[in-house]
């Protein structure tokens, strides 16, 4: 019989999972550019679709950048758990004596590092392309930094719920977008306020609060969803 002292602690297990997922992300480092290029292309589509008027573009810029960032994250979210599900790693993870909570959190954090963070760093460029007013850049960066974290967390719930299904793609979007809405309202609200020179610390505070809440609560839902899906 195996005594409890032979089982690694939660910290060690989380570190192991973090290391593994970072390694996987590194092996697929080409994937990092995918959401970036997607965001770039969608931002280019808009001037083509609605006409190149600078005033109009500047007016919609804060909202547009946020919507695009959100869609870019969304598209990569659907596959957070897919590969691990298919090859059985997820099953092994959930059958291990470790609490799913922290392992899942580690996976989501890695996902954010390779999707949300790069998109955040590129956002000012998107703003520039749409001639966004100068006051909006700081709130854009900060709001996306936190906003993408909660998007990853919420998105992972959707990914967890649909991991057993073959065709997750659009379904995840459907499930998850309504849940994103508050995050987006406060995020883009801050940027709009910044563009117009109004104070935006209130919006940012709410955004950070939502992010913290999502980060501690979402893993519960994700773990539950994954356990349900394991029993197919």
């Amino acid at each position: 019989m195996l005594g409890p002292e032979q089982v690694p602690g939660s910290l060690e297990a989380t570190a192991g999972t973090l290391r593994r997922d970072l390694l996987l992300a590194y092996r697929r480092r080409g994937d990092i550019i995918n959401p970036l290029v997607f965001a770039l292309i969608v931002v280019t589509l808009f001037p083509l679709g609605i006409g190149p008027g600078e005033r109009l573009l500047a007016e919609i810029a804060p909202g547009l950048v946020w919507v695009v960032a959100l869609l870019a994250c969304l598209l990569s979210t659907d596959s957070i758990f897919r590969d691990d599900y298919l090859d059985g790693s997820l099953q092994q993870m959930l059958l291990s004596p470790q609490p799913g909570y922290f392992l899942v959190q580690a996976k989501v954090v890695v996902h954010w590092l390779v999707s949300g963070l790069p998109v955040t760093l590129m956002a000012p460029l998107l703003g520039l392309m749409l001639s966004m007013p100068g006051g909006g850049y700081l709130p854009l960066l900060v709001s996306l930094l936190f906003g993408t974290i909660s998007l990853s967390m919420i998105g992972a719930i959707g990914a967890g719920l649909t991991v057993g299904l073959k065709r997750g793609g659009v379904l995840v979007a459907l499930i998850v977008l309504p849940l994103y809405i508050p995050v987006m309202i406060f995020g883009s609200g801050a940027v709009v306020a910044g563009c117009e020179g109004r104070p935006y610390s209130g919006q940012l505070a709410v955004l950070v609060a939502l992010t913290v809440l999502a980060s501690v609560l979402a893993p519960l839902a994700i773990t539950g969803a994954l356990r349900i899906n394991m029993d197919d």
């Binding site: 089982v7 004596p97 609200g189 117009e196 209130g202 505070a205 709410v206 950070v208 809440l213």
Partner: protein, 146 residues
């Protein structure tokens, strides 16, 4: 400690800390004015920024609607019965727009007294009564809204 209990304790600790941080932040945010919506009193007391896209709302003061020239320019006074603000608007007004009726206007404040609207929406309040009752009330000297 039993390992399973320890794991649960960690999780609960994590959630409690997270929730308190969130609560603190929300508390802070509630003291900030995040509203895009300003009442005439807010505008009069200087809470609303100038030259930024904002929304304002209140009642159209009776007898304040003026048509300027023959194009679609109108001017009217929006009030919350404490302060007034004058709204300029060029365009077609909604059907339900009338004096004594609620409105929401979008646009920007040019000076603390003058609001240039790009959009005017008629807002309806929660009073419902038959016309006879309303007439009766009016005769008794009570204006049937607010």
């Amino acid at each position: 400690m039993h390992p399973v209990r320890k794991q649960r304790l960690y999780i609960v600790l994590f959630i409690v800390i997270g929730a308190s941080i969130a609560a603190g932040l929300i508390f802070y945010a509630l003291r900030e004015n995040m509203n895009l919506f300003y009442s005439p009193s807010d505008i009069a007391t200087g809470k609303a920024p100038l030259d930024a896209r904002i929304r304002a709302g209140g009642m159209v003061r009776e007898g304040s609607v003026q048509r300027l020239g023959d194009d679609l320019e109108v001017r009217f006074v929006v009030t919350d019965y404490a302060h007034d603000v004058t709204v300029h608007y060029v365009g077609i007004l909604p059907d339900l727009f009338s004096e004594g009726q609620g409105v929401v206007v979008t646009g920007q404040l040019v000076t603390p007294e003058r609001f240039d609207a790009t959009e005017v929406l008629a807002k309806h309040d929660e009073e419902y009564m038959p016309p006879e009752v309303s007439d009766a009330l009016e005769k008794a000297g009570r204006v049937p809204q607010n």
